[in-house]
């Protein structure tokens, strides 16, 4: 890769990040239009993209980013009010910017003039064309600030650092501390405040805004704000510069482009003339304002290699530990201690590496407000979002694969769940429907809940549709929960319930399968008239799994612990053979079908009579239960998941493989796949459709 290619690659990565930030900032802006921090953040993102694009020579991206930036600038300098329409325009522009970046990275060509419609709209806000216009630049104002806290400042909970941090969000801040009032050490009261600060802030913020910052942190007599106006390098265009005497800066007074340095004299078309120079300077200013995040960018491939290596290390360590058990006990205490220590380090290392792959679900949640806005516009339903647990962390790959399922579930909830405002009011509900989005960690899994307070699932209709489609028998007895979960059957959510919103060719069956593919589970709970909730349970990571090690004949298998309900040694009187040969086990009055793994997997020497072995009760993804007939339960172990498909192909009933402490390969049982293979189940058609779709995907 030559240098330019590397730069381009870096630009694409950075742009993706900035675009994702931008989306979050715009979403925040839509929520609270007065939020200067979001506006500044959005401006920064667009500005960085513009700078980067200019640097690597993507003129088209740079030009469009410039137009968007100009619009943001007008909002930032309060020439333009933040309203829904302009935020919608910005979101649309963000998408186009995204498309442009994608197109550049894939080498594809976006239709010429795709920007035109946006640029026209942006221009209409400006009153005159922006693209050809040179945003009148002017330096920022210099504001002198003084903080003279009283002695009891700290006792009142004051913290100058917080204040400085607040101020830094408004511009470049320099702080000088005055220690002259500090008493000699013997007289020093450590709880009292003896310091004073003098600050210089280069900012676009009004004095009123700064006063607000101080007012939250100090009493009126503890600070002073003096607006010194333009710094020494005065702007050539004095008509829009703020006079230094004018302390009462009103919102109407224009303080244009805070971030951009004065242009060279006579330079009328900045976007054409030496853009890189100008952008570099602008970025420098921006960087000073941006909060410093100390992180590095690591290629995902490298990361995965590391994850794999650590997996190998854990396996090697397990092998060593197993060898140790073969030695006479107590003979090699040092060795035993060493291996124990090694195993602890290996575990810590593994956790650390996994944590590196983890990301907060924030990136998923941040897209939802926008989705709701779109849905609200399309349906006329009024919506609000309540979310929590945005900081919950989960594997990056899981996050990437969750975006579509979550989008779909929310569409589904709005389209089928939430009623129109009038209908809600007549039912005694608030006119605004609520979508609740919650993430939390529970044990080794992440639970994501998407709930609405709409009408809930119409069980009779759903059931009738399932019967009609031949998915369940007419006379089949089903619990309410089972009925609700029928919506995950293929052909139910897609065929009959198509609408412009949720009927986009993706059914809930696909959603479920995508989640299952991540090792997750999804279910729905509904209360008629009060709403429905989707619950997704997902693994923290895709690389390891907690499993029960079982023996069947001469083979060892792993059953994911997440599926295991209980194990029992069945009594002969509880095992019944049905017509047609299937065995069921009576467990506390419930009949559970038995899966003879030995027979199904063709293992010789496995126990045939369940009373000779053990039955492990497991839960399938649709909430059903089956009993696995096993010879013996060996123990519980964390295993590194290896794909069988790397060198072989997928096997129904097998989720993957792992390598045991003795170096042998053991297969991981896919409980839902097993149940599907047993056939005769209500859900069998789903499994078949799933397998078919999987085949088609390859």
């Amino acid at each position: 890769m030559d240098e330019l290619d590397e730069l381009k690659q870096a630009f694409f990565e950075e742009a993706e990040e900035q675009l994702s930030d931008l989306e979050a900032q715009l979403a925040a802006l839509a929520e609270s239009p007065a939020d200067a921090a979001s506006l500044n953040g959005a401006f920064r993102s667009v500005h960085s993209i513009k700078g980067g694009a200019t640097l690597v020579g993507f003129a088209r991206i740079a030009d469009f980013a410039h137009a968007v930036e100009s619009l943001l600038h007008r909002m930032r300098s309060q020439q333009l009010a933040v309203d829904t329409a302009v935020v919608a325009l910005l979101l649309g522009s963000r998408d186009l910017l995204h498309d442009l970046v994608r197109a550049a990275s894939t080498g594809a060509d976006l239709a010429d003039g795709a920007e035109a419609i946006f640029v026209r709209q942006i221009d209409s806000y400006a009153g005159r064309p922006i693209l050809s216009q040179n945003p009148a630049p002017s330096p920022q104002r210099l504001v002198r600030l003084q903080l003279m806290p009283a002695a009891d400042y700290l006792a009142r909970g004051g913290d100058p650092r917080r204040l400085f941090a607040e101020l830094r969000r408004h511009g470049a801040l320099s702080v000088v501390v005055d220690t002259s009032a500090l008493p000699p050490l013997e007289a020093l009261d450590p709880g009292a405040m003896h310091l004073r600060w003098t600050m210089a802030l280069e900012t676009a913020a009004t004095v009123a805004q700064l006063r607000d910052v101080f007012a939250a942190q100090a009493r009126a007599d503890e600070y002073e704000i003096v607006d010194c106006g333009s710094p020494a390098a005065a702007a050539p265009d004095s008509s829009i510069a703020v006079s230094s005497a004018d302390v009462q800066v009103s919102a109407a007074v224009v303080d244009p482009d805070a971030a951009e340095p004065p242009p060279a004299k006579g330079d009328k078309d900045m976007s054409a003339v030496s853009p890189s120079e100008r952008d570099t300077a602008a970025i420098a200013v921006e960087d000073a304002i941006a909060p410093i995040v100390s992180s590095i960018r690591v290629d995902l491939d490298r990361m995965d290699k590391l994850v794999n290596l650590v997996g190998e290390l854990v396996i090697s360590q397990a092998m060593l530990a197993e060898q140790l058990h073969a030695l006479p006990t107590g003979q090699f205490p040092q060795l035993a201690r060493g291996i124990e220590e090694l195993s602890r380090h290996a575990r810590d290392l593994q956790e650390g590496v996994m944590a590196m792959r983890a990301q907060p679900v924030q990136s998923l949640f941040s897209r939802v407000p926008r989705l709701l806005r779109e849905l609200s516009q399309h349906t006329g339903k009024r919506l609000q979002l309540v979310s929590s647990g945005e900081d919950t962390e989960i594997d990056k790959t899981v996050i990437e694969h969750l975006h579509d399922p979550i989008t779909h579930m929310i569409r589904n909830a709005v389209d089928h769940g939430i009623e129109l405002p009038e209908a809600r009011v007549t039912r005694g509900k608030p006119p605004v429907g609520t979508i609740r989005l919650v993430a939390r960690q529970a044990g080794g899994r992440i639970i994501i809940e998407i709930a609405d307070d709409g009408r809930g699932i119409d069980r009779d209709r759903l059931r009738a549709r399932a019967v009609e489609a031949g998915l369940i028998a007419q006379d089949r007895q089903m619990s309410e929960e089972e009925t609700d979960n029928l919506i995950f059957l293929p052909g139910l959510s897609t065929a009959a319930a198509v609408s412009s919103i949720s009927g986009r060719g993706v059914g809930m069956d696909i959603v479920r399968r995508n989640i299952q593919r991540l090792g997750g589970r999804v279910m729905i709970r509904s209360t008629p008239g009060q709403g429905a909730a989707f619950y997704m349970s997902l693994p923290l990571t895709l690389a390891v799994l907690d499993g029960m090690v079982i023996r069947v004949g001469g083979e060892t298998y792993i059953v994911p612990l997440a599926n295991v309900v209980e194990s029992l040694r069945p009594l002969a009187k509880d095992v019944h053979t049905l017509v047609g040969g299937g065995d069921v086990l009576s467990v506390r009055g419930e009949y559970v079908p038995l899966a003879h793994i030995g027979g199904m997997f063709g293992v010789s020497g496995a126990v045939r009579d369940p009373t000779d072995g053990l039955v492990m009760l497991v839960e399938t993804d649709d909430g059903g239960r089956i009993g696995l007939v096993v010879d013996e339960i060996v123990g519980q172990q964390q295993v590194v998941i290896k794909s069988l498909e790397t060198n072989y192909r997928a096997i129904s009933g097998v989720a993957g493989a792992t390598i045991l402490g003795n170096g042998r390969v053991a297969l991981i049982v896919d409980v839902s796949g097993l149940r599907a293979r047993m056939g005769g189940q209500a859900y069998a058609p789903m499994a078949e459709a799933g397998a078919r779709a999987q085949r088609e995907q390859r």
């Binding site: 060198n647 097998v654 297969l667």
Partner: protein
């Protein structure tokens, strides 16, 4: 993947100077036996040769898939070539050998009786497989080579392995 044309001139093929001074394309083969028959496999597809070790059997696999084994942390399927040729399963012992081959991006082990030799043959020595005995010979073999009084059958590794890569 299209079977490689055995008369093609690949830049990777070594050139051997014949006694009459002419350069000819040659191929290196790993030779192995199953029963009395000697076979050859293109050395470029061979990753390593290891002794047989017990495998973990796979459910619902054809009889020629002996299961999977751990190759330094990678799960690799093992093909029983005798069974693949339709001559029944091998009863593997520690003396049996697994030839690990890489086909496209897949790594597969092939169980054979013994590995006998590494042979360099000229392209011109490779004879086409005559059309007899149904399609089997055509499907599994790329050509025939005469060495002294024995015939070496050049196996088509990609086509041998193909069934396990089907989804």
């Amino acid at each position: 993947m299209m079977p490689e044309n055995r008369f093609s001139t690949s830049p990777l093929d070594p050139l051997t100077r014949r006694s009459d001074g002419e350069n000819v394309q040659t191929r290196q083969l790993v030779c192995f036996t199953i029963g009395d028959q000697t076979y050859g496999i293109e050395i470029r597809t061979v990753r390593e040769i290891r002794a047989w070790s017990a495998t973990t059997s796979l459910p619902n696999a054809p009889d020629f898939v002996r299961g999977v084994t751990n190759l330094r942390g990678t799960v690799v399927p093992i093909l029983d070539l005798r069974a693949r040729f339709g001559h029944g399963q091998t009863e593997p012992t520690k003396a049996h050998v697994v030839i690990v081959v890489a086909i496209e991006s897949r790594v597969v082990g092939i169980l054979v009786d013994t590995v006998s030799d590494i042979l360099t043959v000229a392209e011109t020595e490779i004879r086409p497989v005559p059309e007899i005995g149904g399609a089997a010979a055509q499907e599994y073999l790329d050509g025939l080579i005469t060495q002294g009084d024995q015939m070496i059958a050049l196996v088509a590794a990609d086509r041998i392995v193909a069934p396990v890569l089907v989804h």
